[in-house]
Symmetry: none
Subunit: 122 residues, 2 copies
Amino acid sequence: MRIGELAKRTAVSERSLRYYEEQGLLESSRTAGGHREYLPSSVDRVIRIQELFAAGLNSSKIADLLPCMRDVDGGPAAHATPLLEQELREQRARLDRAIDDLNRSRDVLDDVIKTATGHNPA
Amino acid sequence: MRIGELAKRTAVSERSLRYYEEQGLLESSRTAGGHREYLPSSVDRVIRIQELFAAGLNSSKIADLLPCMRDVDGGPAAHATPLLEQELREQRARLDRAIDDLNRSRDVLDDVIKTATGHNPA
DNA sequence: GTAGACTCTGACATTAATGTCAGATTCAAG
DNA sequence: CTTGAATCTGACATTAATGTCAGAGTCTAC
């Protein structure tokens, strides 16, 4: 498929798709005239990339990480370097801290609602 | 305390503290001469803000979330305004959504760690 | 072939969070 | 007071990801 369709299917702008390619996150072949051509598996790949961005990784870490993922491209999954692994764990720890904090707030808020209304905060 | 001390205690730059204030995330009073003066509770507040930034939230989302959390951190408005039950439920829903998003990202990261490192992300 | 839709590259703009710097002002200790 | 440390505002810089636009080239359906 061409870039327009990939953009539509992933809800990611063409600009960003080109940027991902520039950053080594996404591959494409080219038509004789120079237009990008994507495999169907690119849809999943792009969605994966978006998820990792959303999880707080930057493109350089994602680039390091992608070769370690057994994607639909079937290639042998490489192994993360210790440094990358550590960075991933750190990011996960950051998420955990925020989640814990928000959960605590939620519990307190639940109590407030229970106390203030007398019934279940369903 | 003044901004220098708050910066030291939270390991957040003075520049960022002023920015947080500009974004409505942090309050301060002023001395006669215009210098910022912070309550001791600002330390926790700033640490919480940093936590949320580190988890990938932006200042506008944090601004949405903080009012849901000030009940917990004992901020100035904690008991001042008894909120409507509906407002409380809305705040809880906001927290829930944020927690869900972060949990999703955490799961993605967990999955990635498992795949890329081969062993348990403990 | 030709028209209209699509894509290309390259450049410049933008947003968010933060860094840095300059010149002016305030604070606190002697 | 004076002085050195701290702070103020405001401006400009930076990085990452993305937006936008222009001019040129490509693709495809007729």
